[in-house]
């Protein structure tokens, strides 16, 4: 090898290494385009609809609440194998166009999910006891609490102790060279009267529910959250996702107050502490029963649980 060729190879190798080091950051930070949702959020901030509330008179959202996946448009396969019917029991989508406008790629993913379900294959990332993440957070059945302070709002989910932190102290998003995908994303907000306006970016990819459509790590949202009655908190969300959607999707979710029992409280737990569900060789969910290899006994939680058998 000549000296020139050797030096050239070193230069190429070094260059490749630099590119390789840069890829994990650039592949996310440079492609996640949230300019459209940010513009909408900033416009809402510049043109509030309501009179500002004093910091000591912010809304009272105390209590225990619950969400529901029934606000989602669900799909089924038509006779032709396409997604022909969209169903929601709580959102009256006037037409299929009001249901999530899926891109062809993500419509194909939704079809695959339904085809797998027919085969009994029904496993998703939450089955692994990892967080549902946002925006799936919104439709979780589990209990929720909302803690409001003048500088920050915590949106708390019983499931996986998932906490959305919404900074209302005027700060911006995490600097781009410090950002990476997060289960709950990166949220900033402000109060428009009694409405909390939230802009969320930097989410992980996920699905709205085990059998619902997916969203990409490009998903970002603007929410207007307001307590519309003593027992209902409403979340009007616009979802932006240039990979999963053909256009922004407006959808409304609600959280309803849990009244019975009146003293119900959220208790922290680890999903995996007694989890006896594993994925079998076909990809379906499988229960490990007492006496079988890998069974985790709830009464032996001080011992390291053996790895579940597959």
């Amino acid at each position: 090898m000549s000296g020139t060729a050797w030096r050239g190879r070193v230069a190429l190798t070094a260059g490749a290494a630099i590119v390789a080091m840069a890829l994990p950051l650039s592949s996310f930070a440079q492609t996640a385009d949230f300019s459209e949702s940010l513009a909408a959020y900033q416009d809402m901030k510049a043109h509030p609809k309501n009179k500002p509330l004093p910091a000591n008179k912010l809304p009272d959202w105390s209590g225990v609440w619950t969400g529901s996946p029934d606000y989602l448009p669900y799909y089924r396969l038509g006779a032709d194998g396409k997604l022909t019917v969209r169903i929601s029991t709580r959102n009256n989508f006037a037409s299929s166009k009001q249901a999530a406008p899926l891109s062809p790629e993500y419509e194909a993913k939704a079809i695959k999910v339904l085809q797998d379900r027919v085969k009994g294959i029904d496993w998703d990332y939450v089955s692994n006891c990892i967080p549902a993440g946002f925006p799936r957070w919104t439709v979780s059945h589990y209990l929720k609490e909302f803690a409001i302070t003048p500088s920050m709002v915590w949106l708390l989910n019983e499931e996986q102790s998932e906490v959305r932190r919404v900074y209302t102290d005027g700060r911006g998003h995490t600097p781009r060279d410090e950002a990476y995908p997060l289960y709950e994303g990166d949220s900033i907000g402000f109060w428009d009267g009694d409405t909390l306006v939230v802009h969320t970016i930097d989410n992980k990819e996920g699905t709205w529910d085990r059998s619902a459509a997916a969203y990409s790590d490009q998903v970002n949202t603007v929410e207007r959250i307001r307590k519309v009655s003593n027992d209902v908190i409403e979340d009007q969300m616009t979802v932006y996702d240039k990979l999963a959607l053909t256009k922004p999707w407006n959808v409304t979710f609600q959280f309803t107050r849990v009244k019975e029992p009146a003293d119900l409280r959220i208790r922290m737990y680890s999903c995996n502490e007694n989890n006896n569900v594993v994925q079998d060789e076909k990809g379906n969910s499988h229960h490990v029963l007492p006496g079988e290899t890998g069974y985790k006994d709830p009464e032996s939680r001080t011992e390291a649980a053996p790895s579940p058998a597959k």
């Binding site: 029904d122 998703d124 589990y142 085990r210 619902a212 019975e260 029992p261 502490e273 969910s285």
Partner: protein
């Protein structure tokens, strides 16, 4: 299993009609069928992510394991740890595991006094259409 009775469900929606109230899929349960197991409560494990009702089948002494909801979901239905004390005689109606092992997803439990405790899986929708998600 003399006490094992299988109901041919009149429900329209079996496998795909269960909402994702749990961290895992319900596909391992055959929701087109129901079984009824009568026996004695060995243990009620009131814990996360799911509580379990363990019942010894009076017919043959086999231990059956029935999955129920998380404690916070059960409490909203009025079900507490004391609802199923060890030794209590019960009849559990459940969606059986598809592979025939001694387990299922509890729907309701009849107590010795004839009262019925509903622990139907949250989101269960008997009118949903097969192929639709919950």
């Amino acid at each position: 299993m003399k006490s094992l009775s299988i109901w041919l469900a009149l429900l329209a929606a079996p496998i795909l009609s269960i909402s994702a109230s749990a961290h895992h899929s319900h596909a391992m349960f055959d929701t087109s069928k129901r079984i009824a197991i009568s026996g004695t409560v060995m243990k009620f494990e009131f814990t996360n992510p799911h509580s379990w009702l363990k019942v010894v089948n009076e017919a043959d002494g086999e231990l059956w394991s029935f999955e129920t909801g998380a404690p916070s979901q059960l409490l909203r239905k009025g079900v507490k740890l004391s609802t199923f004390p060890p030794g209590m005689k019960v009849t559990v109606r459940a969606f059986p595991l598809r592979d025939g092992r001694a387990g299922g997803e509890a729907v309701n439990v009849t107590l010795a006094d004839g009262s019925v405790v509903s622990i139907e899986p949250e989101g269960y929708n008997p009118t949903a259409t097969p192929g639709a998600a919950p």
